[in-house]
Structures are given as structure tokens and as C-alpha cells.
Subunit: 188 residues, 2 copies
């Protein structure tokens, strides 16, 4: 058996999410995760600072991708559309191929109030970063705040639908529906 | 000096917020808060479980008030309007007379990532509770989620404006402006 495992990150993530789901996040140790993945703890720590990092390690990459897309698209269309197009691109790139992992991660976080707060913090940071990116393109602060918040709200609605077992549409496909529903709700 | 102090809660809150602002939340002890308020630690613990409770003790009362107002108003108007009217009533009742305290609390939380996450958790719980109250009145889950989220987004925009030093309008007065701005942003 070769010692070099190209899919180590994925195996560790899968093992961790399985164990978090089975026995809870708090009760799961790095030793157990490594054992389940048939890797060493050393390999785990080569890729993750701790077990929390398995859940939130992607957040900064996600934020960078979204901000880059917003910056690339800003100025040419209304701010909300700019953000939505960025979220669509990133949905395809970072979510669609990992549907099972993303859904499992979501379930683990939903089961633990502390992790939920951390996730809310990451989402708030992403919203702030989107608003900042819009402002850099000349959008007014108040409008940037509302466009970023509204886009994230639509994204969350689409995401909730996407993580349902019986849902077959992609997240990108679900986003426009969520935006239409948001428009209807806000127009009253 | 009488031992019974009718304004003990307010004095403890003011003292705590002053100290949190001066030296940070983490570095402030209950002993210091009690001393600043010229009260005993025993009195502090009669009113608050810990120093965090000074910041978040109002959250459950706030949630109860908002949910009651939503339940009272639901069904007669579009869901978003129902929530906005509830937030207006509660803004007058729980925020307006305590502007300085609320603004100071906001600044303390903004300076501490852990407190920020806690605040985000409280806001998310409030949003969920509003959505649940709308659903109990027959609103569809997806619409309830979006109406609650959109109302909270407008509330946050109004709140940001309200906590500015140069702002003299009430939070209730600022809410409709925020909603109009949200409508414009979402309509594109």
C-alpha cells in the first residue's frame, strides 16, 4: 500500500463527517478520524489544524472565490444581480460536485449550537466581504449592505432546497427561483 | 444609604458596558462591575448569571415580544408587513428609551468576535422564531423564511443608521426607509 495518498483530504473529510454524524462533533477525536480514514494523525495535521478546520477550512477559499467573482462582475449590472451571478459561478465550482459532503456538513453543524454560531460568523464575514467588494466598485454602503444581505438570503433559501434528499436540480438552477420568491415577498 | 436599589439592573448594565468599553469584555470581572455600580457581587448575581448575561439577557424578552406582535398581526397583511409592524412596535417599546445603552452594547459586541458570533446566533434564533410564528398563521415555510429574513435585514440597516451619533430619528421612523431601500435593491 503506497504511503502517499492523493485523496487524503477527501478521505479525512468523509471520515470526519461520518463520525460527527454518528457520535457528535464534541465526542469525536482526531485519532478516530485518522483511524476511520486509514491514515495517520500526522497526515490529518498536515491538512487540518484541528477537527473544527474540517468543517470550516473551506470558508476562506469560498469567500475569496465569491469576492473575486463580484469584483469581476461589478459595475455592469445592478448590485444584487452582480452578487447572484457570483454565487451561481461559485455554486457550480465549489458545491455541485460535493453535494453529499456539503449536505452532511450542514447536518453536523445544525446539530451543534456552537458550530452553528461559528457558521453564522463565517456567513456574516462573507456578507461583509461581498458588501466591501461592491463598495470598491462604487456602490453606496447602504445599498451594498442590502444587496449582499438579500443575495445571501436568497442563497440560503436555495441552499435549504438543494440539501433536500428529493431535490435533483443544481444549486445554480435553484437560485433564480429563490430570488423570484424573495422579490415577491419584498414587493408585498 | 438604603440597601434596596430599585435601579440595580440598570446601574449594573451601565457599569458593565462602561467597563467592557474601557478595558474589553474579556478583561472585565464581575467584581469590577459590582464595584463600579456601587453594589455587591451578590446583587449582580441576583440579576445576571454571568457578565455575558448583561449583554444577552434581553434577547429572550425581545424574541417573545416580537413573536407576540407577529402572532397578533399575522394574516391581515402580507407577511413582510406583519413582521415590520411587529419590529416597529418592539423598537418603540424596547429600544428607543435606551438608545445610549443599546449603542454602547452594540459597540462592545462589534469589538469581540466571540460576542459577535453569539449575537449572530441570537439574531438567527429570532429570525427562526418570526418565521415559525408566520407559519403558525398559515404562511408557507419558504415565504415565512424569506419574509423573516428580509425584515431582519431591513431592521439591521435601520439599526446601523440609528446607532450613528448624528442620527436623531427613531428606529421606528428609520425602518420604512430601510424597507424602501431594500425594495429598490431587490427589484434591481
Amino acid at each position: 500500500m503506497p504511503r502517499w495518498k492523493p485523496d487524503a483530504v477527501e478521505r479525512l473529510q468523509t471520515a470526519a463527517l461520518e463520525l460527527f454524524g454518528e457520535q457528535g462533533f464534541e465526542r469525536t477525536t482526531v485519532a478516530e478520524i485518522a483511524q476511520r480514514a486509514e491514515l495517520t494523525q500526522r497526515t490529518f495535521f498536515n491538512h487540518f489544524a484541528d477537527k473544527r478546520e474540517v468543517l470550516f477550512g473551506m470558508s476562506s477559499e469560498l469567500q475569496q472565490e465569491v469576492v473575486r467573482e463580484v469584483a469581476a462582475g461589478a459595475g455592469s449590472s445592478p448590485p444584487l444581480d452582480t452578487v447572484l451571478r457570483a454565487l451561481e459561478v461559485v455554486a457550480d465550482k465549489m458545491f455541485e460536485s460535493r453535494r453529499a459532503v456539503v449536505a452532511r456538513r450542514h447536518a453536523v453543524i445544525a446539530a451543534n449550537p456552537e458550530l452553528q454560531e461559528r457558521e453564522l460568523g463565517k456567513n456574516a464575514a462573507l456578507t461583509d466581504a461581498i458588501a466591501a467588494a461592491l463598495q470598491e466598485q462604487g456602490c453606496e454602503p447602504a445599498t451594498a449592505f442590502l444587496a449582499a444581505g438579500a443575495a445571501m438570503l436568497a442563497q440560503q433559501a436555495a441552499f435549504q432546497q438543494w440539501t433536500r434528499l428529493d431535490e435533483t436540480r443544481t444549486l445554480r438552477e435553484l437560485l433564480p427561483d429563490a430570488v423570484r420568491a424573495l422579490r415577491t415577498t419584498v414587493e408585498g
